[in-house]
């Protein structure tokens, strides 16, 4: 019983002494005065890999397009939409929106207007902020409406054709509106930026 108490007391004493001595260390001046960049907001290897893959799929699609294989090009661009980017990386949205714009244009060129419109609508619904890529997607949306109007024209459905043209104008207007706001924002930032 006595031994147990002695051991307990000694352990407690050493622990407390250790705590106080450890507590003293930071005041000794060995603390780092610089802060290294947080790993979650810097460009890391995962982001570079995702961007490299997107780049390769785009190049692959270009080869297919120049080779007259729009279906294969479409499939290659579609791969970009399923690429895994680091969580929260803003580049992911921009790259995907740009891929959707190209994908929609490829689908339009193949006469798949509904699929093209679905691709655009999904992209616009997922967009978190207004960017030049979103504006470009609205432009592509306008092109799809124009293509639909042309189809209705060929079917002598003037009313629907007019409706699609109006929708096209709305889409272009939205694109112009976003671009104008962004350009204004860029012009306001420029004077304060260091040269």
């Amino acid at each position: 019983m006595t031994r147990v108490f002695v051991i307990l007391a000694l352990t407690l004493g050493m622990f407390a002494a250790g705590c106080t001595s450890h507590d003293r260390e930071p005041a000794g001046g060995s603390q780092s005065v610089t802060r290294v960049a947080e790993p979650d907001d810097v460009i890391d290897q995962d982001l570079m890999i995702a961007l490299a893959q997107a780049k390769n799929f785009h190049h692959k699609a270009k080869v297919y397009i120049s080779d007259g294989k729009p279906a294969e090009a479409t499939a290659s661009v579609r791969e970009i939409l399923s690429l895994r980017f680091p969580a929260g990386a803003p580049e992911a949205e921009d790259v995907r929106l740009d891929a959707r714009a190209l994908l929609a244009k490829l689908l339009v060129s193949q006469g798949q207007l509904d699929e093209a419109m679905r691709t655009v609508d999904e992209g616009l619904a997922q967009a978190q902020r207004e960017t030049f890529f979103v504006a470009n997607l609205h432009t592509v949306q306008g092109e799809i409406h124009e293509a639909r109007a042309a189809n209705f024209d060929s079917e002598n459905d003037k009313a629907k054709a007019i409706e699609e043209r109006r929708a096209a104008i709305t889409s272009y207007d939205r694109s112009i509106q976003i671009n104008t706001a962004l350009q204004k924002s860029l012009l306001q930032k420029k004077p304060t930026e260091p040269r």
Partner: protein, 199 residues
Amino acid sequence: MSTDDDDILSAPVPDPDAEPTAAERAHARTFADLVDKTLSGRTPPAMSADDRALLEVATVIRATSGGLELAPQRTRSIVEDALRQAIGANSAATSMGGVTPITAAKSRRRWVPWAIAATSSIVAVAAIMMLWLRTPKQLAAPVAPVAQQETPANWKSRPVELPGPITRDKSGDALSRIDYIFADRLEGFRERRLRGGKP
């Protein structure tokens, strides 16, 4: 000059069945008294040589029979002397002088662990008190400004900065844009890696 004592010791051994004589009885009674006095520590200062010899024999017989007990003081003295010899101390020293008495050692052995435990406990309590007393001071003290070096913008993952709107004729030119994005981010990535992540 011959005495009765001489007669007893030098005379032939009587027959076991023979009746003791009056002189033998008187001598036996006298010797019994002498033995009793010796055992009670009242040994007569003078006695005959025969009585002394008989008395020594009687003492030895009593000691060997196991009934003899030493006084506590004497027992302790003997043990202390034996211990002193065992540890190589001067045997000529007094029995209670140089060696710690067994009783004293026992009592010391009893309080030493408690003293260690108490000291350790006091140290522990003092250390904990110091922690408690110092912590609020540290919290209240102004935090030293840490020189936070801003991470360069080109090292960060960020929205793609395009110089201007995407014109309609360039709407499908996603390839040139991804080339630009990749090259820009690669530059920042390499710069960060080469500097070990420190601005």
